[in-house]
């Protein structure tokens, strides 16, 4: 019973973030900003839903598979996002920005 409540809360929270990500894709002004909206759906949306499902899995092998999906998503989704953004940049689309600055991190 408690597991079901925890699971429901996580899945619903994940769904809410996925919807917010979708709203972001529509609301944000330009292509490069919209990618940030999609990022919400990719990370917290998918992450919370998968974590929520783990609490409902009937045995541990299902949990292992959900963790595998989470790991795979954690590697592929930023790679795909970067491929998309880089492809847009390469084809000449310029981000709509206030300023561009050169900076070196302090390492």
């Amino acid at each position: 019973m408690i597991l079901e409540i925890v699971s429901s809360v996580l899945v619903i929270a994940g769904a809410v973030f996925a919807v917010i990500g979708g709203i972001g894709i529509v609301r944000l002004p330009d292509f490069f900003s919209r990618i940030h909206g999609a990022g919400i759906t990719d990370t917290l949306g998918a992450g919370l839903i998968l974590t929520g499902l783990m609490f409902l899995s009937p045995d541990w092998t299902v949990t292992v598979k959900l963790v595998a999906i989470l790991v795979l998503l954690g590697i592929t989704s930023p790679t795909a996002t970067h491929a998309l953004a880089n492809a847009a940049l390469e084809t000449g689309l310029r981000p709509d920005v206030d300023e561009t600055e050169e900076a070196t991190s302090s390492s």
């Binding site: 990500g21 990618i35 940030h36």
Partner: protein
């Protein structure tokens, strides 16, 4: 040969965990054949090396990932609020930072960590410089502080 042994261990582990069969000799035998075939092909392709199988990484990743998850959650909440509340401003900008990692794997982890954190997306990599599109000033400042860069460099270790 250490890498080949590591590959066998990982493939066998993945096969057992995904199949869930532990006491069916025929299926386990077929699994062993699959593992042997994949290792044979990988060796022939010469992809069994420290890049294909970065054995030095997991120890550092164990310490890095919890921090990354917390950062991702914080950034998610921030960007989500900015999307649903019109009064919170966004100020997109492009910044260039230097990636302090020595290996390609390290740089990939850094660039992917930046993309994974909502509010910042890696849009270009050139040598050891990374170009980032940031949605807000705070997100840009987060990258410029260089904390993630230092932590990823630590994950790399000395291997």
């Amino acid at each position: 040969m250490t890498y080949a042994a590591g590959l066998v261990a990982i493939l066998a582990g993945v096969w057992l965990l995904l199949s869930g069969y532990f006491d069916k000799p025929l299926l386990l035998g077929l699994g062993a054949v699959s593992v042997a075939l994949v290792v044979f092909i990988s060796l022939r392709m010469r992809i069994v090396d420290d890049e294909g199988l970065p054995v030095q990484l997991p120890a550092g990743l164990v310490r890095y990932l919890p921090w990354l998850v917390i950062e991702i959650v914080k950034a998610n909440v921030d960007v989500a609020l900015r999307i649903i509340r019109p009064d919170l401003p966004i100020r997109p900008r492009v910044i260039r930072v230097r990636a302090g990692q020595r290996t390609d794997v390290g740089r990939v982890i850094y660039a992917n960590s930046i993309t994974l954190t909502p509010g910042t997306v890696t849009i270009d990599t050139e040598g050891d410089h990374i170009t980032i599109h940031a949605l807000t000033e705070e997100a840009a400042a987060g990258v410029l502080s260089g904390e993630m860069d230092r932590r990823v460099t630590r994950v790399e270790g000395h291997g």
